[in-house]
């Protein structure tokens, strides 16, 4: 059992994965927060990301769809922010990170996807004025997801 219990171990483990496995595990992180977004394109993107045999053409299309979803969901400068909708923006960013080609994102695509998923959870908690620390819970869930992935 790969006992990942902190971000240092988490990040090291992610960096040890090749590009395809990074994408697949990133899709698992996104799956965990997918209910925070209501853009149907993201489920399609994530199915592609989760497919370790996805052809390049599908990945390109998925990235395009994820980016479009990201632009459509961001809060425009000066408009009133809705933190529930902002959670959807970060899910879209996580999905986009998952299908971004290797070498384009600092820390790797899986790390960026994980961070955006945590942000999505944080945004939802802001919307609900929750006093707990949902990002920490999301981190723990991601440690578990990665551990299981490495052991599978």
């Amino acid at each position: 059992m790969s006992g990942i219990s902190n971000d240092t171990e988490f990040r090291q483990a992610l960096e040890g994965l090749d590009a395809t496995r990074q994408r697949v595990v990133a899709a698992k992180f996104v799956e965990h927060v997918l209910d925070l977004a209501d853009d149907e394109r993201l489920a399609m993107v994530n199915r592609t990301a989760a497919n370790s045999a996805a052809p390049d053409s599908e990945l390109v299309a998925a990235l395009s769809a994820a980016r479009a979803a990201t632009f459509d969901s961001h809060t425009r400068c000066g408009s009133e922010g809705d933190w529930s909708e902002q959670a959807g923006y970060f899910v879209a960013r996580a999905a986009a990170a998952a299908v971004t080609p290797a070498g384009q994102l600092p820390g790797g695509s899986a790390w960026q996807a994980a961070m955006s998923c945590r942000m999505a959870r944080t945004c939802r908690s802001i919307a609900q004025a929750a006093a707990d620390n949902p990002a920490a819970e999301e981190s723990a869930a991601q440690y578990r997801i990665l551990s299981e992935f490495l052991d599978s």
């Binding site: 971000d7 980016r67 479009a68 990201t70 632009f71 961001h74 809060t75 425009r76 400068c77 000066g78 408009s79 009133e80 922010g81 933190w83 902002q86 923006y89 070498g103 384009q104 600092p106 820390g107 961070m115 945590r118 942000m119 944080t122 908690s125 802001i126 004025a129 620390n133 990002a135 920490a136 981190s139």
Partner: protein, 428 residues
């Protein structure tokens, strides 16, 4: 504040006529060079978008009340009036098709600062009730909530908790005696919160003493954009009050163009006194750290990168060389866009244009100018230092089907910090 009215608008315009304005109108030779400097004109060829033409309401007030011939014409009933119809007609010209980027002022052969006058025209437009609804709402939220996007302190605190978890560092808040007070834009708090962990990591690495302020974290200034100096002064005053309370040596403006313009260049005039502290853009501070040998970076970006100069930071703010020196630390293959630096073309979304939904089609149309610049150099990635530019650049690139990632310079620096930090930790 009283409600807007035509009378208030005309009075506001009248108050804006000072010696520079009179000299500028007097010296305009109608050459049209400002038109070719404005991307709203070059990308549409609409003569109404000629910058000097956008000043017509102010010009009419100046002519009718401050020139002999104008006074005579008015006395004979021949003068051109400023009324609600005119102001309604000019509202899209003043707000939708001008980002106050300052490029027109750079090319005027007689030295007219047209941008300075656009800023003044907006005072009259806002006072008369002819300002875009999006900007009006943003300004109300900025005054009542403290953020044009409605970001409240608990939301910032949640983002801080996230940044602390991501960076493994304590984010200092309300630390009296810290050297630097960092301000943030609501865009960063909502759309790009990784900026917070980026500055935390850089400052920890470089041993910088810094803090955020719970009652003065918002850097943006809707008062500047809409054109209400009274509100602009109130918003600047909040940051000044926080800086003085915490006794910091300097206030750091974030990756936001107009925020820098507001606090650095307009601020002291707005509040009517000099600051007791310095104001720096985050890139100025990072460049100082570089110069002092306190930034130790490793690795470089392999992409062919270029830099988009945010107008208020480069052209109007003077921060031109600092970003380039910093980019050289992280870019293997850096290429300048044509007309980079002080003559760079605006992204098309500054000066409140991005807040104004009515202008969406126009701002994306004029993005064609940026596309031309990027096509000329075959850039594979673009760095910038303004959250508003960044989101609009992404939007424009998407619309024009250009696969070019847009990066924050501060975040890119943070991503390349060498593992081992020198001794010394922040104020926390």
């Amino acid at each position: 504040m009283n409600g807007p009215s035509l009378e208030r608008g005309i009075n506001a315009l009248r108050e804006q006529v000072d010696a520079p304005v009179a000299a500028f109108f007097n010296s305009c030779v109608h050459c049209g060079m400002c038109a070719e400097a404005c991307l709203f004109f070059t990308e549409t060829r609409n003569p109404a978008f000629t910058p000097i033409h956008k000043l017509e309401p102010l010009r009419r007030i100046w002519k009718s009340e401050y020139t002999f011939m104008g006074k005579l014409a008015s006395a004979l009933g021949l003068g051109k009036k400023v009324d609600d119809e005119l102001l309604a007609q000019w509202e899209p010209l003043v707000y939708d098709s001008c980002t106050m980027c300052g490029r027109c002022s750079m090319v005027c052969p007689v030295g007219n600062d047209i941008t300075y006058m656009i800023r003044k025209v907006r005072e009259g437009m806002a006072a008369s009730g002819h300002a875009p609804s999006g900007l009006v709402s943003a300004t109300k939220r900025a005054v009542t909530i403290g953020s044009p996007m409605g970001v409240k302190l608990p939301a910032l605190q949640a983002q801080i908790r996230h940044a602390e978890e991501e960076s493994g560092l304590k984010i200092p808040v309300d630390v009296e005696g810290a050297d630097y007070l960092c301000t943030l834009s609501s865009m960063e708090i909502m759309n790009f919160p990784e900026y917070i962990s980026a500055i935390a990591r850089i400052f920890d690495h470089a041993g910088v003493s810094w803090t955020l302020a719970s009652d003065g974290f918002e850097a943006t200034n809707s008062g500047i954009q809409i054109g209400v100096s009274e509100i602009a002064a109130e918003l600047v005053g909040r940051v000044v009050k926080a800086a003085e309370k915490l006794k910091v040596k300097a206030v750091i403006s974030p990756e936001c163009g107009h925020a820098y313009m507001a606090i650095r260049w307009e601020g002291p005039n707005l509040i009517g006194r000099p600051y007791g502290f310095k104001v720096l853009h985050i890139l100025e501070l990072l460049d100082e750290l570089r110069k002092e040998g306190r930034l130790h970076l490793s690795g470089k970006e392999a992409l062919r990168l270029t830099y988009h100069d945010p107008c208020q930071i480069s052209r109007r703010g003077g921060v031109v060389e600092q970003p380039r020196r910093l980019i050289n630390m992280v870019a293997e293959d850096f290429v300048e866009m044509p007309e980079a630096g002080t003559m760079n073309w605006c992204c098309g979304a500054g000066g409140g244009v991005s807040t104004n939904e009515r202008a969406d089609d126009l701002r994306l149309k004029v993005f064609n100018r940026k596309k031309i610049q990027l096509d000329a150099i075959q850039a594979e990635g673009m760095i910038s230092a303004c959250s508003n530019c960044r989101i609009h650049l992404e939007d424009g690139l998407e619309k024009y089907h250009m696969d070019i990632p847009v990066l924050s310079l501060t975040e890119t620096i943070a991503a390349h910090l060498a593992e081992k930090a020198p001794a010394g930790v922040g104020a926390s």
